[in-house]
Amino acid sequence: MREPTYFVLASLLDGPLHGYAIIQRAEHLSGGRVTLATGTLYTALDRLTAEGLVVLVSEEIVNGRARRSYGLTPSGAGALRAEAERMAEAARLVTNRSHRLKARGPAREASPA
């Protein structure tokens, strides 16, 4: 799962949002790192909708235009959780080791024989 996709799904954790709200929420959640362009957002939404991870929840007319809100499906929430666990697992590999390194001090270079 690519980072923008991950943050699009994560932005919907607290409930359905519409297009621009997803962009804002993803930017907020990622600490400003993921700023989705409009085309990128809808490419992601198309794919996630086709895969059944995201679903159209409501549609209202604002200023004469459709404003659609999208929400996570149960399988979307499951995929997000699985990805989060995978990343946490991968992160532990490094964080655990760096704790140990800190405890032992910097690694010594191999001495010539």
Partner: protein
């Protein structure tokens, strides 16, 4: 309608019509919200993402191949047009680049390479189009493919003889009618339930579209009442022409306008036929669980 709305509307045209019908409203809403107040254009990132997103929806392979193919064909046609008008009887690199500033050999070689690339590119464009044309059962796909090959062969031979006999107009009609018919088939596809017929026609149209471009190059190079017949044995492509086959062609503005029309038609049809429906309406039309 504000300038921002209008400009966003232009950019949204990168997406195919069926997609815009479904999504343009909400995308416009998002774009307007994302743009700072008073902006006349959406941000560069947004514009870029729309253009790329549009191409993605239209189908990556066929679409991306068709654009350089059409542009290259147009460039080559233009080059040959200039040649046909200016080439003197002497064969020299300078003769191949009339009115050009720069190293004549470089331009001649570039034109040669461009022509070669254009021909080679036509093969994947044709294949991508054929794959896209009919994604039904294997038998129907094979039938569509064979139809296209047979048509390309017959029409190619006919084109060769017709053009050599100075009956270029007949050749153009021969090539263009199936393209137009297939365009209509595409428009009224839902009413045409005979899928085999539609697939065969579209395949023919696809091959024709590729050949319209091909013929165009020769037509341009040999346009005009005094031009030598094409494929008469002494003419090759572009800068590789043995110039003995060329004479000074007389080209009027009306002929040029007709030519531009053909070029636009060929390019447009290529692009329309190449647009893949990788994504379908039911993919983006989210079905609410409620």
């Amino acid at each position: 309608v504000t300038p921002l709305e209008r400009h966003c509307g232009w950019l949204l045209r990168a997406y195919p019509a069926w997609y815009r019908r479904e999504r343009a409203g909400e995308m416009l809403d998002t774009l307007l919200e994302a743009s700072p107040p008073g902006a006349r254009w959406p941000s560069f990132r947004d514009a870029r993402s729309l253009l790329i997103g549009g191409l993605r929806v239209r189908g990556p392979l066929a679409w991306c191949l068709s654009i350089p193919w059409a542009l290259l064909g147009a460039a080559e046609a233009g080059y040959n047009f200039i040649l046909s008008e200016h080439v003197p009887d002497a064969v020299s690199p300078e003769a191949l680049t009339p009115g050009w500033i720069g190293e004549p050999n470089v331009i001649a070689v570039a034109a040669e390479l461009g022509a070669l690339t254009w021909f080679l590119l036509a093969i994947p464009v044709l294949l991508a189009g054929l794959v896209r044309i009919y994604r039904g059962r294997l038998r129907a796909r094979l039938a569509a493919g064979l139809t296209a090959i047979a048509w390309a062969w017959i029409a190619g031979l006919a084109l060769m003889y017709l053009l050599a006999a100075g009956l270029g107009a007949v050749a153009w009609v021969l090539l263009t009618i199936p393209v137009l018919v297939a365009g209509l088939v595409r428009l009224y596809r839902r009413r045409l339930r005979a899928a085999g017929v539609a697939a065969g026609l579209t395949a023919i149209a696809w091959a024709s579209t590729c050949m319209v471009g091909l013929a165009l190059m020769y037509q341009v190079a040999n346009w005009g009442p005094t031009a030598a017949p094409i494929w008469s044995g002494n003419c090759n492509v572009g800068a590789g022409c043995s110039l003995a086959g060329y004479r000074h062609a007389v080209v009027s503005w009306e002929e040029l306008a007709v030519l531009a029309g053909w070029l636009a038609l060929g390019a447009a049809l290529t692009l329309i036929l190449a647009s893949t429906r990788a994504l379908r309406i039911r993919d983006i039309r989210a079905v609410s669980g409620a």
